[in-house]
């Protein structure tokens, strides 16, 4: 837990001028953690939001909370900040009593002041906080003070966002700063043979600098457009050894038991030892697949680096500034105290995108030109081609039925690793996971991650169905050596696993001629899950008869089996050209006590839209010569012309702890869309994405 490593109030809360600064190691990546943290402190201390702010998230200053991922921010940072604020509340009341008398109950905290009704004693809360001992420990046992009504804070930064004055790392502009661009190899197997010397001289004659370390090549200069043009011309001046090209592997065939390291999964945790035999003569058997997909951040990755000759100062939109600092320091032979990384927002990232790689590359360029701030920006093509992809997955589901109920259920997941982040570890794991280290003169091999044996982690996240089946057989199959670098993307394995399980539930319910919601409820022993489905059913009934040509599908999952419970219903139509049109959606969620209802709703809706894009549009394509998905035309994503009306319902379970929701809706969304397509046209889509071509192909296979 975060506050076990950082046990002092002052690790999390500090008076600064007339404001209270909240320290966190979690960063805003569009999930509004800063807004939620401000609300937590605002509730506890009755401080107006204008007197609260989030401290810059910088190594050496912020708590080290690892990576901002896994929908953990509210449980980790949120819990620590809440406990620190509760401790502050109790302690300042004691302080007021010791200084001015009375009992703690005689004092009230209101609107930034501690006052004693009936007297003119009115003390500024932040002045009192300034007087707290710096070594005051957090008392985790303090009950939280939650007012019945507190005004909702506006989303932090939104005023600046609509005015164009919100600063992204891309917008930094320091005096004497240079811009930089990298020269991408044609593909991951290529190595640089030569650069045309005449072109080099032409570029250098314009006052630009070329940086080369093995096959890592970049160009830097004062003017951004000059650098962009030089990068194009330098790219054309490079000749590459192709190294046999990219393997044109049939991934679907590779995702098979004979290629895998296999683990039985019990209660969400992989076990060493033998894997149980498959179900004998299953009544239902189907395989589901997801292709490689990209995070596809709207802003290509960027970073600002400056090397002072002694210290490397970096600004990055990385989700994990401390692990990145360790990986970069190790790569460059520096101590961690010589590297300082400050988080500056990028665009939404949805997992491990190019941010860390761009930060390291900016550092390599900056080291070649000391005392010059270097703003490196990846191009759109760099981001599409070189970010770590979400791994392709396959999930085999088998089930046995008796009397219309499932009596045995088997799910086997197959994929490459979801763990590509540059975390420190054995065999210089951190540096080995930074892209440029594969291309530098002293090149490192691609890192082979050990199997993730964590509970509900990696590919086996949500492999364990929420249902109380009498017999469950769950298997994780780690397949390595596949063609592409892969890492964490929003939900990890939960997308493919929930797609597979909830498509299967739909298929089995139909075989049993059962209502899909009642069929699920009959297999659930979790009353909160049943309540989510009950509310979903009520909302569906309220919509009345479906119009002609519209199909409806539903799905349910609880993210990581312990976080937010989500039921999704989707209504779709299929056009004459086999395009799936999203018409209407309902999302019912139980996230425990809700801190920021708007933020929660936005996360659930956003998760729906991203999952709809994965479900309907997205697939990385490649051939021998390289990745073919290089921009938004060759890798289409969902656009405004296919946005349904989405009704979000948050169940009121304010007596339950808050749990993360940033990744709760995507899995059920993909499955609900697949189930809706079946309901609409009778075709069972078992491979994402459900494009017009896929629908046409499925129709031909009937």
């Amino acid at each position: 837990m975060s506050f076990e490593a950082y046990p002092l109030v002052s690790d999390w809360l500090n008076a600064h001028d007339d404001r209270l600064l909240i320290h966190t190691g979690k960063v805003d990546i569009g999930q509004r953690i800063s807004t939620a943290l401000i609300r937590i402190v605002q509730e506890e201390l009755s401080l107006p939001p204008s007197r609260l702010d989030i401290a810059p998230v910088r190594t050496g200053h912020a708590p080290d909370e690892g990576i901002t991922s896994g929908s953990n921010s509210i449980e980790q940072s949120g819990r620590a900040v809440a406990a620190a604020a509760a401790t502050v509340r109790a302690t300042i009341l004691d302080l007021a009593v010791s200084r001015h008398g009375g009992a703690a109950a005689d004092w009230k905290i209101d609107d930034g002041f501690v006052h004693r009704p009936g007297t003119n004693l009115r003390l500024d809360l932040i002045d009192l906080i300034r007087d707290l001992p710096p070594d005051l420990p957090i008392d985790p046992g303090r009950p939280r003070h939650v007012p019945e009504q507190a005004p909702l804070p506006a989303m932090r930064g939104i005023d600046d966002m609509v005015q164009g004055s919100f600063t992204f790392v891309h917008d930094l502009d320091l005096p004497s700063m240079w811009h930089a661009r990298r020269i991408s190899p044609p593909h991951a197997k290529a190595t640089l043979r030569d650069i045309d010397q005449t072109k080099i001289e032409n570029i250098e004659a314009k006052g630009l600098q070329i940086i080369r370390d093995g096959s890592f090549v970049a160009v830097a200069g004062a003017g951004e457009w000059d650098v962009v043009k030089a990068a194009t011309s330098l790219g054309l001046a490079c000749t590459w050894d192709q190294g046999g090209g990219l393997p044109e592997t049939d991934i679907s065939a590779q995702l098979a038991p004979e290629n895998a390291e296999r683990f039985r999964v019990v209660d969400g945790t992989p076990q060493n030892g033998s894997v149980p035999a498959p179900l004998d003569a299953p009544d239902m058997s189907a395989r589901f697949e997801r292709p490689y997909q990209i995070h596809g951040a709207l802003a290509p990755s960027a970073a600002l680096a400056e090397w002072t000759g002694d210290t490397l100062l970096l600004r990055s939109h990385s989700q994990g500034i401390y692990p990145l600092r360790a990986a970069i320091a190790d790569s460059l032979g520096l101590t961690t105290s010589q590297v300082e990384i400050t988080h500056v927002p990028g665009s939404g990232c949805y997992g491990h995108n190019g941010a860390d790689d761009a930060a390291f590359e900016a550092a390599l360029i900056a080291m070649a030109r000391p005392n010059t701030p270097i703003l490196l920006k990846w191009s759109r093509e760099d981001e599409h081609v070189w970010e770590p992809f979400a791994p392709a997955m396959a999930v085999q589901v088998d089930a046995k039925l008796a009397d219309g109920r499932i009596i045995a259920f088997s799910a086997e997941a197959y994929s490459d690793t979801h763990r590509g982040r540059p975390r420190p570890g054995p065999n210089r794991a951190g540096p080995a996971k930074l892209l440029a280290n594969r291309f530098r003169a002293i090149a490192m091999d691609a890192y082979v991650s050990p199997p993730n044996m964590g509970t509900h982690a990696g590919m086996h996240r949500n492999l364990d169905p929420a249902y109380a089946f009498p017999d469950k057989r769950l298997v994780k199959n780690l397949v390595r050596g596949l063609p592409h670098r892969t890492s964490a993307m929003r939900c990890l394995g939960a997308v493919a696993n929930v797609f597979a399980i909830e498509s299967s539930m739909d298929e089995i319910a139909r075989q049993a001629d059962a209502d899909p919601i009642a069929f699920r409820q009959a297999h659930l022993d979790d009353p909160r899950a049943c309540a989510v489905l009950h509310e979903l059913d009520r909302r569906i009934q309220a919509r009345g008869q479906l119009r002609d040509g519209i199909g409806r599908g539903i799905a349910y999952a609880q993210y990581k089996n312990v976080m937010t419970r989500v039921g999704v219903a989707v209504e779709v139509a299929v056009t004459d050209t086999a395009e799936v049109r999203l018409d209407h959606a309902i999302i019912v969620a139980d996230a425990g006590r809700v801190i920021d209802p708007l933020g929660l709703t936005a996360q659930l809706e956003g998760g729906f839209m991203q999952a709809a894009s994965w479900a309907l549009c997205e697939e990385v394509r490649w051939d021998r010569d390289g990745i073919m998905s290089r921009d938004w035309d060759s890798y289409p994503v969902i656009r405004f012309d296919n946005v349904p009306v989405i009704d979000v319902v948050l169940l009121n379970t304010s007596d339950q702890p808050s749990v993360g929701a940033g990744e709760a809706s995507p899995g059920p969304t993909v499955a609900a869309i697949a189930n809706a397509i079946y309901d609409c046209i009778g075709l069972r889509l078992r491979r994402m994405p459900f494009t017009a071509d896929a629908l046409t192909q499925a129709a031909l296979e009937i």
Binding site: I29, G30, Q31, R32, A154, M155, G157, I158, D159, D160, M161, V162, Q163, G164, S165, F166, T167, F168, H170, D171, D173, G223, E224, W225, V228, G296, A297, L298, A299, P300, P345, G346, S347, G348, Y350, K377, S379, R380, L598, A602, E605, G606, G607, F608, M609, Q610, D631, W632, D633, V637, I638, R639, F640, D641, V643, P644, V645, I646
Partner: protein, 157 residues
């Protein structure tokens, strides 16, 4: 480019005339961001595929990441920094805030510009018209439903 005679471009941006020093082939977005330090207009793709770089040119939303600055010579351009100079601009910005129509905010300036251009030409667009006008714009956080609500709100308040 004309080395033998001086060629210069001037733009009126948010009501102020600027003589441009950048090379004539520079796409407008780099002139705005680097020469004029107007960082609100975002670069997303450089291919006119994502809409992050939209600005308003004589009442229409135009993508600024490909077309060279010389093509805009003499034109009146409104960027996100100047969008609040009209009542519609203020209304759209207010509606985006009231509907919390952003997550990471990177697509937001382009969407605000597109929404203002839409409402200046079509004061009460139906839902299909709005969706069509926004289809050149990508949002990867999935704020689409809130953006559509914000534009609806801006037409009715």
């Amino acid at each position: 480019m004309g080395a033998c005679h001086a060629v210069s471009v001037s733009l009126t941006i948010n009501g102020t005339r600027h003589d441009i020093a950048s090379d004539l082939d520079t796409p407008l977005v780099y002139v705005l961001r680097d020469e004029l330090k107007l960082k609100g207009t975002k670069f997303g793709c450089g291919l006119e595929q994502c809409g992050a770089c939209a600005v308003m040119v004589e009442g229409k939303a135009v993508l600024s990441c490909v077309t060279p600055v010389e093509v805009f010579d003499g034109k009146e351009i409104t960027t996100i920094e100047g969008i609040a100079e009209t009542e519609i601009g203020q209304r759209v910005q207010r509606a985006f805030v009231e509907e919390t129509a952003a997550q990471c905010g990177y697509c937001t300036p382009g969407l605000v510009v597109a929404a203002v251009a839409l409402l200046e030409n079509t004061p009460t667009p139906d839902s299909e018209t709005t969706k069509r006008a926004l289809t050149p714009h990508l949002c990867r956080c999935g704020s689409h439903p809130r953006v559509l609500k914000a534009i609806k709100r801006a037409t009715t308040t």
